[in-house]
Symmetry: C2
Subunit: 201 residues, 2 copies
DNA sequence: GCTACTAACTAACATTTGTTAGTAATGCAA
DNA sequence: TTGCATTACTAACAAATGTTAGTTAGTAGC
């Protein structure tokens, strides 16, 4: 082994290293624009050697997409289980979303942009998870409406618009940038809520 | 010529036909996922024959991206020139944006998502236009602040979030769907403005 | 010290990629 | 009728693609 990644023997496996590097490259050049040879040379090995760690290129994409989806869903489920106030729920759902996307910037970007290149079977599974996630947000909005805290809006439209602004975070968030994930979440919540709270207009 | 597209001899050129078909395919499979042979067989010809109409694959992408950028910029410039009231300005800027993106769904999608695959030179030019466009929105927000109509927000943050929700339209807008572009623009404006107007909270 | 495993290698594969060269058939203008 | 521009074709190119086969050096457990 020429290149040893023995900083911490088990926590950072070679596989994780390959995936991390791949994700970073896919952010710059896209999934289809990043070849196995590109990835290999970035981690200082031959393309064929990658297959000792990863069974196929698509696994890099699918593992990332599903991991992120699971994390988002789990966070949202917790919020919906524990809290009662719709405003609080929405605020925490936003915080959860921003936290997960900014925690791993590259995975976040790939999750938002590159899932389209999943194989059909995986793409279908993925879209199902995404729909479930959207449903979680819809539930919060509905509850808010019922309790008279939120305006009466087209829920589908509102959820999509909200998620749009949340997902866009991956586009411009930089860890060393001016705002922390918490500040971003707070500002986004403000932005969204001021447009939803009834006592406005 | 086996396939004749003589519905209206000059308005729909073969080139336009090729580009339209390409854009539709790129929406489904991405720029890199759409090969010249894919495009060719979709318009019933050989890949090599495409080069009688288009000098390179990238031209399909670059022409689309720059055309859309120009249209958006021109619309925004008109709004900023003619009107004075910041709320009216913002509302019309949103309407302009939604109109142009929904007028040609495929071009809109490609414009939003695939510009990354432009060659470096073109990408730089493109990003410059996009920055200019963002600046136009920033101007409106600033004016609104100065006149005390809008809240004091982080302008960069607000503009990016606004554009995020505007661009997301390409993701889910369907011509035969429930909402017309005008209705979408109106709802988006409502959503954005209620989060900006001072008399809120 | 033998065994089994891990992780790297070289070589090659069958496709697919964007694109060029060269060649015909067509239709319009002179 | 001649000539030119348009638009299609076939054939081929060099490069790049994801992946497999077969091999080998090092390491850990018995």
């Amino acid at each position: 082994m020429l290149v040893s990644s023995k900083i911490s023997p088990k926590t950072t496996t070679r596989k994780a290293q390959i995936i991390d590097t791949s994700l970073e490259m896919m952010c710059r050049m896209g999934y289809q624009g990043t070849s196995m040879r590109d990835i290999a040379s970035a981690v200082n090995m031959e393309a064929a050697s990658l297959y000792n760690h990863i069974s196929a290129k698509e696994v890099i994409l699918s593992e990332t997409c599903f991991q992120m989806a699971e994390r988002l869903l789990q966070g949202l489920a917790e919020v919906n289980d524990i809290y009662f106030n719709p405003i609080e729920k929405l605020s925490l759902a936003v915080k959860n979303h921003v936290k997960i996307l900014t925690e791993n910037t590259f995975a976040g970007w790939v999750f938002v942009h590159e899932w389209r290149h999943l194989s059909e079977a995986n793409r279908n599974r993925f879209v199902a998870l995404r729909d479930e996630y959207e449903k979680g947000f819809t539930t919060i909005l509905k509850q808010g409406e019922d309790e008279g805290v939120f305006q009466d809006v087209n829920n589908k439209f509102a959820v999509l618009t909200i998620l749009a602004s949340l997902n866009w975070v991956v586009e411009w968030y930089k860890p060393k940038g001016g705002m922390t994930p918490e500040q971003i979440a707070e500002k986004l919540t403000e932005f969204i809520l001021s447009g939803l709270k009834k006592e406005n207009n």
